[in-house]
């Protein structure tokens, strides 16, 4: 029998970005809140202190900040008729863990979605006709517009001290920014860092080809900055220990560097770490959540009652907890009915390595997760005419090293031996003189790509693992090849001695062994009604109105941008509605 704690006003499941945003919102409103985090407590000091954090093996390879797969992983199969195999070792994606979640080890590339990403189906149908969308493609519109989210994108950028250059300020196209972005109400809060050398060469090449490159919007603050909550961030020094690391300089925005300092002393907030939630509890009607059940560090099962439940774990964990709690109807690919687990999507990325001569000093170790990088957005979203290319979606194309980590990011040209004297000579010749470029591409959602519970494999508590059914579709192979051809064109103009591209081609199935993207999406998607979605426009469950679900699980299909800006915008949009309406009068915010 579970120990039953005293009821609080709200329980938060998962204390990463969206958990922290909701913790602030709800405690500001005077609610008593308990946040349950499966991983350990983590803070800049002592957990990310220099020099211990500058350890590639520990953080970049073994992944000590990631979720330990030994306790819980996912299973993966390529199609609904296959047997899924456990994801036993990290490869394709890395999952966050502990206070701050994936917001600790992320890169800080903080994008908004493009306006047409949010009404994708109606936009594509309107521009290209209904037949342009293949029948198996299950993309749908968000039930919220860019204009509605814009103030919240703007706020979150200010919370994070994002460095960047506006490209569309209140409808006016500005030089040096992204001309394809939706109109923004304000500039970025901090100026961009100058381009690192690989990005400088890219910028010049892109300009020669007529493309408009601009700084990657970077939640790596470029200056000493105080955010709207009074929390101070420091200037990024391009230390190279950013992507996969916690920031020792208080430069990379994370819950620790933006939100948690003001929450730390609040008497109406209790954070319980090492608390592994196994179920959202429901009353007898199944329509009202009554709290969360979790297992604490010593293995005790504990019930935390609360009349408001915030599900703010990572995308996959949100979906798994809904399924374990039997909330909503699980998606069935045979009938297309049911919504929980529907529209899982991913990203498709390509890379081009540019190998320069030894007098070109790339210095790949000088860099950050986002700061100092440059990008072009011409071939993303619907920024170009798709009528002749035969696919939907697109990619951003970016240049800039993220640390030049020797174990994980050593670049040698194709044909170089993998070991022996030839390899040893090649690493010296190329390490300081090679530059990585990448595309980050959208993946659409499809009827046969979804999440469900695995019938065989379990976590360390005996509960079913989440099962992913995913492979690429023709649309994405075409999209990635098109994007890669544009990237290769830019790289040729950068005039390296050699260049080589890694690209998934038709016949290459999804390969979990290779890191590609942690931007997994869908499974608890947002939509206009209960038959096409798990949550409404305010992130509220259609089935259980006192349950709100946050994160990239809400995305009906994936975008060619990093997801954090969009999912934080959706969380702040919801938080505003909670304050305005829900907390005053709990109940469904949208009538089904």
């Amino acid at each position: 029998m579970a120990e039953r704690k005293k009821s609080v006003d709200a329980v938060i499941i998962g204390y990463g970005w969206t958990g922290a945003i909701l913790a602030k919102t709800l405690t500001d409103a005077g609610l008593s809140v308990v946040a349950l985090e499966r991983g350990p407590a983590r803070d800049t000091s002592p957990d990310f202190e220099f020099p211990r954090i500058a350890d590639e093996l520990k953080y970049g390879v073994r992944g000590d900040l990631w979720q330990p797969l030994a306790n819980e992983t996912v299973t993966i199969r390529h199609s609904p008729n296959d047997v899924a195999a456990p994801y036993r070792k990290y490869g394709s994606f890395v999952l966050g863990n502990g206070v701050g979640g994936a917001g600790v080890h992320w890169n800080g590339q903080l994008w908004r979605a493009s306006p047409e990403d949010l009404n994708l189906r109606s936009h594509i149908e309107g521009r290209y006709g209904k037949k342009f969308i293949p029948p198996e493609m299950t993309i749908q519109d968000y039930p919220v517009t860019f204009a509605e989210l814009e103030p919240h994108f703007d706020h979150f950028e200010k919370v994070c001290g994002v460095s960047g250059t506006a490209g569309n300020l209140r409808g006016q196209i500005k030089p040096g920014g992204n001309p394809f972005e939706g109109p923004r109400s304000d500039e970025y809060p901090t100026p961009p860092l100058p381009p690192i050398f690989a990005a400088q060469i890219f910028e010049k090449a892109a300009a020669e080809l007529g493309y408009k490159s601009f700084p990657v919007p970077a939640a790596n603050s470029s200056i000493a900055y105080t955010n709207p909550y009074g929390v101070r961030l420091g200037p990024c020094n391009l230390c190279g220990f950013c992507e996969r690391f916690g920031c020792f300089l208080y430069s990379k925005a994370s819950p620790q560097t933006t939100l948690l300092p003001i929450l730390a002393g609040r008497s109406n907030l209790e954070v319980r770490t090492n608390s592994y939630v196994t179920k959202i509890l429901l009353d007898d009607t199944g329509k009202i959540a009554t709290g969360a059940l979790y297992i604490d560090e010593s293995g005790r099962e504990i019930e935390q009652p609360a009349p408001l439940v915030i599900l703010s774990a990572f995308q996959m964990h949100n979906v798994r907890l809904l399924l374990l709690s039997k909330i909503g109807t699980p998606y069935d690919p045979a009938t297309g009915k049911g919504v929980v687990g529907k529209n899982y999507a991913y990203q498709m990325c390509a890379e081009t390595a540019a190998y320069f001569s030894e007098d070109v000093e790339i210095n790949p170790f000088i860099g950050a997760g986002a700061a100092g990088q440059r990008v072009v957005d011409e071939f993303n979203s619907d920024h170009f005419d798709h009528s002749q290319v035969g696919f939907i979606g697109g990619s951003l194309i970016y240049a800039g090293a993220t640390g030049g980590r020797p174990i994980d990011q050593m670049m040698v040209p194709p044909g170089t031996p993998a070991w022996g004297e030839g390899w040893k000579a090649a690493i010296r010749k190329h390490y300081r003189h090679s530059a990585p470029l990448g595309t980050q591409g959208s993946v659409m959602s499809y009827r046969d790509r979804y999440l469900s519970l695995d019938p065989t494999y379990t976590d360390s508590h005996g509960l079913p693992l989440l099962r992913m059914t995913f492979d690429w579709h023709a649309n994405e192979y075409k999209m990635a090849a098109y994007s890669a051809s544009k990237m290769e064109e830019i790289v040729r103009a950068m005039k390296p001695e050699k260049q080589a591209t890694i690209l998934m081609r038709p016949g290459n199935p999804y390969d979990v062994r290779i890191y590609q993207s942690t931007h997994t999406t869908g499974g608890a998607i947002m939509g206009s009604n209960p038959s096409n979605s798990v949550i409404n426009r305010y992130s509220q469950s259609w089935d259980v109105s006192n349950l709100f679900v946050y994160g990239a699980s809400a995305f009906p299909q994936n975008i060619g941008y990093n997801p954090t800006g969009l999912l934080a915008g959706l969380a702040y949009f919801s938080a505003a509605k909670l304050l305005d309406a829900y907390l005053k009068s709990p109940g469904p915010l949208v009538q089904a």
């Binding site: 030994a70 994801y87 070792k89 490869g91 690192i196 200037p235 391009l238 070991w419 022996g420 040893k424």
Partner: protein, 217 residues
Amino acid sequence: MPAATLGALGIPACSDNRRTSASSSYAPTYFRSAEWAFIIAAVGRLIPSEGMGPGGVDAGVPEFIDRQMELPYGHGAYFYLKGPFLDNSPPTLGYQLRYTPREIYRLGIAAANSATQKLQGKDFAQLSAADQDRFLALMEKGETAFSTVPATVFFAQLLANTKEGYFSDPLYGGNRGMVAWKWIGFPGARADFTDWIDQAGRHYPYGAVSISGATDG
């Protein structure tokens, strides 16, 4: 790169063939003596002392691998190792064996020595360098059949750990004296490029530092 520059960086321009002496002071904890001979020999071929640049044995890679075997990593603590284990899952779905890294080495080294005994009547470590290279290539391509752990899995583990030991911070026992960092020009745990934000494209002149604060002079 002229030899004079290499000398200034403290890197021997040619091999001085310290393959065995460099690791002789370290007594392995996990590996048994025949296994240890295999590790030293194999690392000595994967990153040889021949040619310019530090060899893996001189850099302490065997010690690194042995020490890793005693850490949670060696015991498989980073991996999901619950069954059932599928034997016909496509390779693109990743590692599906029951073995921890420790077990992969134990089984893989035994299988490798048994294969070289069959081929040439000697353990791997007793083969000539050229024969060792040929046998490593057979494992790499899966052209020798092991009855326990697949040769390709064992080889991939060995090569990955060898490169980890070569490039990781010296605190783990490899990359002694930061030799691998000096060789490629990686400044290690320096992590401060404030003064370089405006100097993109210039040669970076400073040497490596380690987490312990050691510098390369």
